[in-house]
């Protein structure tokens, strides 16, 4: 057990936990930020994607001890009112079916657009390829990323 200080969604958070605990479980079990999802635990599905200093990161495979003072952003902190261009595009295309994978998809897309505001179709497919959606909403995800890109340039 260790006392760990984190910067999550712009707030300082202190948790008591095993330093090896993946960030995913710190968020979900300790901080009650359950928007970030568990899908595989081995960095294969993208459901747990958060931003660490703005970079899309699989929180299931990142021990909390390695974060230090980097800024962690979760789906709950992506925007104040759920109005990030990616979130708006997701609603416009009514992307979700079951919805379980979508927080991870949105976080991956938002990180993509931050580093590459005008992605090609190939860039979008590359960036989104790591996120599994069993409901197979992939077409709408693609279209929503395009819409979000167009709305931000």
């Amino acid at each position: 057990m260790a006392t760990i200080t984190l910067n999550v969604n712009g707030k300082k958070r202190v948790v008591e936990a095993d330093p090896q605990t993946p960030l995913l479980w710190i968020l979900r079990d300790h901080l009650d930020l359950v928007g970030t999802k568990y899908g595989c635990g081995i960095a294969q599905c993208g459901a747990c994607t958060v931003h660490v200093d703005g970079v899309a990161t699989r929180s299931c495979s990142l021990p909390v001890s390695q974060i230090g003072d980097k800024e962690v952003t979760t789906i709950e902190g992506l925007s104040q009112n759920g109005d990030h261009p990616v979130q708006k595009a997701w609603l416009e295309h009514d992307v979700a079916q079951c919805g379980y994978c979508q927080a991870g998809q949105i976080m991956t897309a938002a990180a993509l657009l931050k580093r590459n505001p005008n992605p090609t179709d190939a860039d979008i497919e590359d960036a989104m390829h790591g996120n599994i959606c069993r409901c197979a909403t992939y077409l709408r995800i693609r279209a929503a990323v395009r819409t979000a890109a167009n709305s931000t340039i």
């Binding site: 928007g35 081995i42 979760t74 919805g99 989104m128 790591g130 409901c135 197979a136 909403t137 992939y138």
Partner: protein, 776 residues
């Protein structure tokens, strides 16, 4: 055993609706869902005020604007509450697993109630069989079976509001009209919002019979409305059981044996000493001698569970528990199923896929049950000019819903509270009652949004397990399966095979057709489906072999294999007959229409032909783009007709799907954009399973347990484009969750043939073409 029939309440081999009659419902007796009016009648004379504190501020699903909450709510029936300010709460009865019933079912209520969708709040109903009919999601039956009860509930509440206004204004009810939540009396110029009449309406008797809208009067049905939970999903709000937490809640996780084995001994000494661990013990899932129903499938009669404070601590402790397994004896038991009891045998031993294949090859040559026989197939085969015989196989599949199996339970002395991802709550409550030793009424099941279901969540073992664990540790518990547990628990899509034979005369006419299907532990033959009825000499046979690897419903059970096999075979047969694959099918359908063979044919040839014609037109079938291999398939299951065309191009050894065009006849489309979403999902999920889906076993152990081994379709393998076209008609709506899935397996196989020159008979197809590994 245990697959989901397409029409629950009848035998598994029951015929499907031959002709869904054009049902222009104008008046309906309200007694058909009398249960939903209990509340209203019980409080007649008093009126009921419900305080919904948690709805103090709420957003309408359709927009960002905040709705002002009323001071009082009035229950008009189980589905509908109206606030004194005109805001309406509609209860969505069925569990939501992504097919969007939580939006489409309230749309049906709202349209008949005649309210403004912007003034509607949708709530998920708890499992409450005293109030709601059939709270079950599966078999693509939600909208089909909900259509009439929901319309009736909406129209009845509207009529009660009309009657209240008639009483208050002292005018005949027949002179009152409604529009968007407002009552009007034209002659006197009076008008009032529903909210003003709700208190009086709630006291009035429920009318015996009510008028329904004409289809042309629908204002909400047939228009695209967005997912009522959309905003919550994109902002990461807790919607799933896995997100649920209560004070003092513990986390429990299972340790699962290989198939065919159970617990012999447990050494938990190391695990018990680990941080956060509360207990380690073994549970028995079902009571001794309990007669299971079709959704009580359990893979392991006993399981070791670790209980602790946090997920990570319990996950680690699991690894430190040493369990010794021992072989289970053969198990044989009856399962209550639709159409009576079914005997299930689970043999002793550790099974492997290699052995399954050898058993199936042998059984394919052995005895089979004749399921249907028309004419004299043997003689026809003897006289044939050409005979084609082909065998198709497909492996076990894991559901791999993105939310792994989990359940919350809090069991106290005399009651149980569950918050569960479950498609079929009514079946499991009975089992819970038997296992916990308490009456069913004391068991309350709240229905969570499910992170996917696909049939797997119809089986409620996780509810029983969570409840048993909670009862034992005397605390609220959330049972969580890891991805590995989820993928290795069982309840898989079975492995199947089918051999087709067909005879052509010298003019290329189909004179005999023979299907012989088998599987472990069920076959997938639907004897009365097309092309039965279209050929004089026809034979359908089935056989199955027992297994201790459990199986269950998986998106379009049985159809998900047999459609691919049959429609691939017909493609090859058309080629042998020298005919265009669409023309060939249309000729057979014409025959089935004009001069059908037999009486039990499970399809309407006209509706079947209409989707083929529509897909021919929309895909521009006669002029395929150059460099593209084009495959077609059509199928009818779950009361919906589908035809699909796949355009494929090979990029090296990788199949690239440029375009998919689907034509669908599911009757009235309630929510068109959401229906398209569901259809796209069925198509893309089907392409993924056709190319990559496979679970194999070695000595009772699944050889894949997570997504590094189990390949799922991802973004880059997704078609460039998918188009879905609906046949416009006025048939009652049928389901969409499943029907687009089965035919795509064949459309892919047929396109692969045209793109590569090779036919593919064994799923998953990517094994036989050097498709590059998924980039993770």
């Amino acid at each position: 055993m245990c697959h989901l029939p397409e029409n629950p309440g009848s035998g598994t081999h029951r015929r499907q609706f031959n002709h869904l009659t054009l049902f222009l419902m104008t008046r309906a007796k309200t007694t058909i869902n009398r249960r939903s009016f209990l509340k209203a009648t019980a409080m007649a004379g008093g009126g009921l005020m419900l305080s919904f504190n948690w709805l103090a501020a709420c957003k309408a699903p359709s927009g960002d604007e905040m709705l002002d909450m009323p001071d009082e709510w009035f229950d008009l029936n189980s589905y509908i509450k109206i606030g004194n300010n005109g805001v309406v709460t509609l209860m969505s009865p069925n569990p939501e697993f992504g097919s969007n019933v939580k939006t489409s079912m309230p749309m049906i209520l709202a349209d008949e109630l005649d309210v403004d969708w912007k003034k509607v709040i949708v709530e998920q109903a708890d499992f409450y069989p005293e109030r709601f009919d059939r709270q079950f999601t599966g078999g693509s039956m939600g909208i089909l079976l909900g259509w009439k009860p929901l319309r009736t509930a909406g129209a009845t509440a509207r009529q009660m509001l009309v009657n209240a206004a008639a009483q208050k204004w002292n005018v005949p009810a027949s002179e009152i009209t409604t529009e968007a939540g407002v009552l009007y009396h034209k002659t006197s110029g009076k008008s009032a919002g529903y909210g003003e009449m709700a208190s009086l309406a709630a006291e009035l008797p429920v009318p015996e019979e009510v008028a329904m809208k004409q289809l042309s009067d629908f204002k909400i049905i047939g228009t695209s409305r967005k997912n009522v939970d959309g905003k919550k999903i994109v902002t990461g709000q807790p919607l799933f059981t896995l997100d649920y937490k209560t004070e003092g809640m513990l986390i429990a996780m299972p340790i699962l044996p290989p198939f065919g084995m159970t617990v012999k001994s447990v050494d938990d000494s190391a695990a018990r000493a680990m941080p956060g661990v509360k207990d380690v013990f073994t549970i028995k899932v079902l009571p001794d001698g309990y007669e299971q129903n079709a959704f009580d499938t359990i893979s392991f009669p006993e399981m070791v569970v670790v209980v602790g404070n946090t997920t990570w601590e319990v996950m680690n402790a699991k690894k430190a528990v040493k369990v010794e397994w021992q072989l289970l004896d053969e198990r044989a038991f009856d399962v209550q199923s639709w159409g009576g009891k079914q005997k299930v045998v689970m043999p002793k031993g550790l099974e492997s896929t290699s052995a399954h294949r050898a058993w199936m090859a042998e059984a394919a040559r052995g005895k089979a049950q004749v399921l249907r026989r028309d004419g004299n197939p043997e003689a026809a085969f003897k006289s044939a000019a050409k005979v084609l015989e082909r065998t198709y196989t497909a492996p076990h599949l894991a559901h791999n819903t993105m939310e792994p199996v989990n359940c919350f339970a809090h069991v106290t002395e005399d009651k149980a509270e569950l918050y569960a991802p479950i498609q079929a709550p009514e079946f499991i409550r009975r089992t819970l009652a038997a296992r916990l030793g308490m009456p069913q009424e004391n068991i309350h099941i709240r229905l969570a949004r499910m992170g996917g279901g696909f049939g797997q969540r119809a089986y409620g073992h996780h509810l029983v397990e969570a409840a048993v664990i909670s009862q034992k540790v005397k605390a609220p518990v959330k049972l969580v399966y890891t991805r590995e547990d989820d993928m290795t628990y069982g309840i898989y899509r079975p492995t199947y095979t089918a051999t087709y034979r067909a005879a052509l005369d010298k003019d290329g006419n189909l004179i005999a057709f023979h299907v012989r299907g088998g599987g472990i532990p069920e076959h997938a033959v639907h004897a009365n489906r097309f092309p039965a009825g279209a050929v004089d000499n026809y034979l359908a046979e089935g056989w199955s072999l027992p297994s201790n690897i459990t199986i269950g419903a998986f998106r379009a059970p049985r159809s998900n294999f047999i459609a691919g096999a049959e429609q691939s075979f017909l493609d090859e047969l058309a080629e042998l007959a020298g005919k265009d694959p669409i023309d060939f099918r249309l000729e057979l359908l014409e025959r089935a229409k004009k001069n059908p063979v037999g009486k039990d044919n499970d399809y309407d040839p006209d509706r079947y032909a209409s989707v083929l014609k529509l897909v021919r037109e929309k895909s521009n079938w006669d002029q395929p783009p150059s460099g593209v291999g084009r495959g077609v398939a059509a199928y009818f299951c779950h009361n919906t007709y589908v035809a699909e065309v796949v355009d494929m191009r090979m990029e090296g050894t990788n199949p690239v799907i440029e375009n998919v065009v689907a034509a669908v006849d599911c009757g009235i489309v309630v929510n068109p954009d959401a229906a398209r979403n569901m259809g796209e999902g069925g198509i893309i999920d089907g392409i993924g399973n056709a190319l990559f889906g496979e679970l194999t076993f070695k000595d009772g152990v699944p050889e894949k347990n997570n997504f590094h081994q189990y390949r799922m379709i991802r973004q880059k393998e997704t078609p460039r484009n998918v188009e879905i076209h609906f046949v416009q008609n006025e048939h009652d709506p049928t389901g969409l969750g499943e029907p687009l899935f089965p035919p795509i397996f064949a459309a892919v196989a047929n396109a692969l043939y045209r793109a590569t020159g090779k036919r593919y008979y064994e799923q998953p197809f990517a094994k036989h073409i050097a498709v590059s590994p998924a980039m993770m």
